[in-house]
Structures are given as structure tokens and as C-alpha cells.
Symmetry: C2
Subunit: 421 residues, 2 copies
């Protein structure tokens, strides 16, 4: 595309691309933005090195002129976007990229890959932490996702309220708190469960989490309290009917005097399972598979579309809104602006998108787009703590129907205001 | 776990871990192994560098003794496995890792991450290429998966019969043939569709694929043939009812004399859509989202379990089979061996797994486990061409019911033979 656009003299036309969801996954009431920080890191490192250029040259993918252009590639345009942790709805213009057609179009795959996966995990994680209430959720899904995706998933989950991850690389790379428990193999390695527990308690102290379902849960709990006393930190249950088992284990722990020993449950948990356990005596959830696969929706289906471009290569040429008409996939042309509209009680009531113009808001409207990149420089400063707080605050502003786990529509409508008419 | 096992003197016990699926995803008749080559690469690079060690030290994740052990870590054991492209069934022992407990247990996450995702994509891809028959499938899902997962997905799809990928990095890294088409943005960039097509034809030649559904498909096809003549390589349709539209476009192309111009379709294709298009005049499928998310099953749910370990730290100590009893998650202890059993017509009739002993096969049985690593050295030599052929041959040997897209059981049963009793 870059090569052909160079041939037709259109490659340098000033262009606006928009990254947005056409819709939410079926049944979801809202989505959660994640990946912004990773996308900015990727943009900073978006270079074509010797190996990449050699491949493109040797396989005649592009001409020498395009090779030269790629070798010098630095994004020099502007980007606005929803910040990380923000809530989004169908049509929310999550990222707006302005630059020459060539420099903006080649970012498509990198930006979509990051946003599509990270936001899918954050959106699922948000529903899980919502259902968990005050009980902590621990991310434990690394084994069930691609090895690099897993690190991104831990980060996205943390943004959406998870308290820690078992992924040490995510701890190292992003400063996310880490936590973990022993596997069944550790118990099986030893000649008896008692010896395994003794070894773990010796090294980790009495505050550790002992896994109690390798053989008989009742025996394991008795052994655990026998060895650690009432200071035992927690036990983990990873199988069976968790609600019933947690009740039995709680009763047993209490009878043994271990009234403060917590119960952590794991085993294919998702937001519905977590909700179903809300009345059970459970103190924390370890969530793996269903988190890293977005609880049934492992990609957000975000797209990256050209919505406006200059009428000519003249830097001052007027921007023309453009849109495809493809059946079922038509796009809304024109640069977008976005505000969240609130009622007088501070509850969100609409996602208002201005097409070609800033929406005429009232004083309660909150602008959603922030400048991320200015003339090629990344200007957005953010950290995971701010993103976590943004997610918490954004969720708190939504109507209570956002908490519904049943099938239904987005919790607020998306309204368009246009000056192109 | 390593630290506590060191404390109890069990870390050096010879151990056997097994990577296997408890079951196939609901409705699937078979699975396809992928990720072996990537896992071997990861194993070769499995080192703890200064940054990793500093993180573990600074956060007191492990003791100085374990840090020293990690700094010197090299896997020194043995690994056997199903080769890439092989078919698998519930319980198939896809990878068997033998080494000390410590050195084998810390590979769990890396091995599972690779196998769980790559095999999920290959298993979905196999159903798609099966439904596509002689028509080529092109991998186009990079934008809908994590940026690194996307490269792995292109590789897995290629193993399972896809002919090419739009992911240039997968082409560079793994030598997979690459292909691509223009996006709607390229058409929208130009002042008219005709100018966009002219630009693409100038650069790519008449053999290119023109995207014809940005505005009116009928007009676009007329323009395309007007510009390129009957030598036009292909048109791509990305929206609407693909079966009906392909029929209309075929009739129009034929009427215009472009009888050899191919029709490529894209737009949320999966194995059922591809099957439903088998009678439509379609010449190739571009598959994106549903491929990289495993067509509804983005992870295989493989687990990595300790199945046997030495009775003591003595290198010559007898191996003891071990198994957890956890409700619904019980494992089968003991070292596994695996054969595929055939009837007299050469059709597979069972997956035979020997527990603690090589199955007593007949002359038609085919052993499935190959030595991948010997005393820490990667000895398995394989390439993607061999993996593709293995997939093709493995599929050809299955009963015809393997082709069923309806819900159902694995196409052959898994049988266990045991000497532990």
C-alpha cells in the first residue's frame, strides 16, 4: 500500500486513522481500555532494522525506494486516545492517529494487536473484580496463553483491579505485585503430604498458602493446621464443588481454631463462578484460563480505519471525511471527538461522539481523548496506579446495570453529533 | 517450589513431568500438535540473565542459594514428544520431561504457554483447511491477537495447511510464504476507486488482488477489469453475504471475459463458513480473527503434571508413579508411551497409551514419541515442511468421521495399557 501510494503521489496526504470497536462482545455492558502504555512503547521502538530490511529486499516485498523510506521511518504525527483504564462503548474513538497516509497506515497491525488483546483481558478482568467485590483476584493464567501475551494479560488484569499476578516476568517488567502458590507436583514429589507442607512452611513461613486437595482435603487441612497452627496464612482449593468444599473447609478450620486462615479458590473461575461463590466463605480467587482468553471474547474486534484525508498532498489541504459503504461494515467518516455525558447525580448517561466537531457539551461532560503523541514525541505520562484508579472511578460512575452479568445492551448509548451534513 | 524442595532435600529427585490434554475442546474430533520447534528454541534460550536475577534478589522472591542455582541453570535432562503436525487425542502424552524435580518443574509455564496457544491455532486451522479442500487458506489474523502470539499463530496455521500469511515477521522469522491485499483505506485515500486500482496495478502488476467492496462491488469489478483486462489476478470481497456476492461477481467477471480472475473472500470466516461456501465460486479464503482465537477454543487446556519421581535423591533410585486424586482432575501416574493403532486398511482405530511400559503393539502400530532432547542437548531435527506433511498424512489416516463439523466425540478412543497394578 505504501509503495502504490508513493506511485500515485498520495502517500504523503495528511490522513486520520481511527481505532475503534464497532460493537461490544455479545452481552457485555461496557469495555475497558488497556494496552495504551504498551502501544506507546511499541511506537517508540517501531523501527525497521537491518534484518527486517534484508528480508523485505531479498524477497522483493518492496522497491528500493520504499526500503529507504522504511530505513528512516520515524512516526512524526500526532495521536490522541482514551487513557488506560478508561471505560469504552461501541464506536468510542479509542485512538486517533494523524500523519501522512504512509506513516500512519503502517502502524495498523501493531496498534490493533496490542489493543485488541489487552483490552479483551481488561474487559473480562473488570467483570471478575466487580463480582469479587472486596475479595482479591490473583492473575494465574500464564500457562494458558502465548508466552508474551501472558505478560500483557497480567498487566491488563492489574489495570482492571486484580491485586497481583503469578507471572514473575510481569512483575519484573511492569512492577506488578507477584504472588503464587505451590502446585500439586510439589506435594507429589514428597513421600507424604506432611513432609511437603513442612518444607513449604520452613521456607515460606506460616503465612504461606498450602494446597490441600492433592489427596483428601479433610486430612490435608488437619495436617496443615497441625503443622502451622492458627497462624496458617491460607489454604488453596483447586477442584470439586468450590462452594460446598469451601464451606466444609471453613467449618473445619474454625473448629481447629484457625479462624483467620484464609481460603483461596482456583479452578477455571470466570465472572459467573466468582459471582456464584459470593456467599461462600472464600477469601480470594486465583483466576487463570478464563482471564487470559477474555472470558469467551479473546479479542475486542477493534478496527483501524481511515476516516479523513487531505484533498491533496499540500500540507494545508482541507481534510475530507471518507467512509466505506461495505454491507454491514460501513464506517462513519470524519475526525471524532468524544465526551462522557453525566446526569445531575454524576451518573454516566451517554457516550457522545462528535463527528468533525467537538460535541456541544454541558458543564458535566468529561472529555475522553488525551494527547498521547505530539509531532512524533510521546507526551502522555501515565502509570499503572493511575490506570487502576481510572478504571475504578470510571466504573463507579456507570449506572448500576453495568454490573449485570446477564445478556444485554451497552449500559449507556453512543450518540453522534455531526457538523458534516 | 524449588526453594522448598531444596530445603527438604527433594529438589534433585529424578522426576518425570508429562504435558497432556485432559480432553479435547467440546465437539472437536481431533487436535493438532504445534509449538514443538518454538518450545525447543525457548528451551535453548531458557536462562536467567542479570536483570531477571536482580529482580528476584531485590524482591526477595528466592534465597541466595536458589539465585546461584538459577544463574547456572541449564536443562540437563531428557525430553520426548509428539512431533509437530502430529494428530493428538485426549490423554496423548505430548511431551515427557525427565530430569531433576527442580530443573523440570521450572519449565512448566514456558512449555505450556507455547503448546497451549500454538496447538489451539493449529487445531482450528486444520478444520479450516479440511473444509477448504483444494482451495488455499491465507492467514490474516495478526491484528486480532497479541503481537507476538500473532507470529506464532501464522506458524501454527502453516503447519496445519494454510498456504501463506500476511504477517511479514512470520515470513522473516520462519520462512513462511507471505501474501497480502490492500485495505479499504487505500481506496479511500484516493480521489476515486479507479485511481486507487491504477496505482496498485502499476506497482503490483495485473496479477494483484483488488479489493472491490469499498463502494459498489458491481462498479468496482467493472473498473478492475476495464483497467487490468482478463489477466487480472483476483478480486477480494470482504463484506455482505459472501456466497451470493461471489456468485454475482463470478458471473460478472465471466461476462467481462475475466474467466480466470480468481475470487478471494474474507470477513470473519471460520470452518463452518468455509464449509458453507464450498459450492460458491470462491478460489481462496483469507482467515483472520477466528483462526488466531482458535475458532472458539483459544487455549488447549494442556497441563504439565508430575507423573513419576524417584523414591530418593539417589540417581539410581526406583521411579515411583504418582498421581493426584483431586475431584474431577485426577491424573494417571506413571511414565507414558504412545502408539497409534491401525486397522488392516491403514485407518487409525485407537490411541494406545502404555502406562509404565511400551504398549504391546502389533506390526501396524506407529510409535508417536520421538526423542527431542538428550541430556540437555536438543537432538530433534525438524522443519515446517516436514510438519506440514506430517499433518497431512496424519489426517489422511483418520476415519472419515474426523471431518465432521457437528458436535461429537474424538474420532478414535484412547486406550490405556498398564503394568502398574
Amino acid at each position: 500500500m505504501v509503495e502504490a501510494a508513493m506511485a500515485s503521489g498520495t502517500a504523503s496526504r495528511r490522513s486520520i486513522f481511527e481505532l475503534f470497536p464497532r460493537r461490544l462482545p455479545s452481552g457485555r455492558r461496557y469495555g475497558v481500555v488497556a494496552g495504551v502504555g504498551r502501544a506507546m512503547q511499541l511506537l517508540r521502538d517501531f523501527r525497521f532494522g537491518d534484518e527486517e530490511l534484508a528480508f523485505l529486499r531479498d524477497h522483493q516485498v518492496v522497491s528500493p525506494a520504499v526500503l529507504d523510506w522504511l530505513a528512516d521511518y520515524r512516526f512524526s504525527g500526532d495521536i490522541w486516545g482514551y487513557p488506560e483504564g478508561e471505560i469504552y462503548f461501541p464506536g468510542s474513538p479509542l485512538m486517533i492517529v494523524e500523519g501522512s497516509f504512509a506513516e500512519a497506515c503502517i502502524l495498523e497491525t501493531a496498534m490493533l494487536s496490542v489493543y485488541n488483546y489487552d483490552a479483551a483481558v481488561a474487559s473480562a478482568a473488570s467483570r471478575m473484580t466487580l463480582m469479587a467485590g472486596d475479595r482479591p483476584c490473583i492473575e494465574m493464567g500464564a500457562r494458558r496463553a502465548n508466552e508474551e501475551a501472558a505478560v500483557a494479560a497480567a498487566r491488563a488484569a492489574y489495570i482492571a483491579g486484580f491485586v497481583s499476578t503469578s507471572n514473575l516476568e510481569a512483575g519484573r517488567r511492569f512492577g506488578i505485585p507477584t504472588a503464587g502458590t505451590a502446585a500439586h507436583s510439589f506435594t507429589l514429589l514428597h513421600d507424604s503430604e506432611r513432609e511437603a507442607f513442612e518444607a513449604q512452611l520452613t521456607v515460606q513461613g506460616k503465612g504461606t498458602i498450602l494446597l490441600v486437595d492433592t489427596y483428601s482435603i479433610e486430612e490435608a487441612v488437619r495436617t496443615a493446621v497441625d503443622l502451622a497452627g492458627p497462624e496458617l496464612g491460607a489454604v488453596r482449593i483447586d477442584s470439586g464443588d468450590l462452594a460446598i468444599t469451601a464451606r466444609d473447609v471453613r467449618d473445619q478450620l474454625d473448629a481447629l481454631g484457625a479462624t483467620r486462615t484464609r481460603i483461596i479458590v482456583t479452578s477455571d473461575l470466570d465472572e459467573w463462578q466468582i459471582g456464584a461463590l459470593s456467599a461462600a466463605p472464600v477469601d480470594g480467587y486465583g483466576v487463570g484460563t478464563n482471564l487470559v482468553i477474555g472470558s469467551g471474547h479473546p479479542t475486542c474486534g477493534f478496527v483501524y480505519k481511515l476516516v479523513a484525508r487531505a484533498a491533496s498532498s499540500d500540507p494545508d489541504a482541507e481534510l475530507v471525511p471518507v467512509a466505506k459503504l461495505s454491507a454491514n461494515k460501513a464506517t462513519v467518516g470524519g475526525r471524532k471527538y468524544a465526551m462522557r455525558r453525566y446526569d445531575n447525580d454524576g451518573i454516566a448517561e451517554a457516550e457522545v461522539i462528535g463527528v468533525g466537531v467537538q460535541p456541544q457539551g454541558d458543564q458535566n461532560d468529561r472529555p475522553l481523548l488525551h494527547r498521547l503523541v505530539a509531532e512524533g514525541e510521546i507526551v502522555w505520562q501515565d502509570d499503572l496506579a493511575a490506570a487502576r484508579e481510572r478504571h475504578r472511578a470510571g466504573l463507579a460512575e456507570l449506572p448500576r446495570a453495568a454490573r449485570k452479568m446477564s445478556q444485554g445492551d451497552p449500559v449507556i448509548p453512543t450518540l453522534y453529533e455531526s457538523d458534516y451534513a
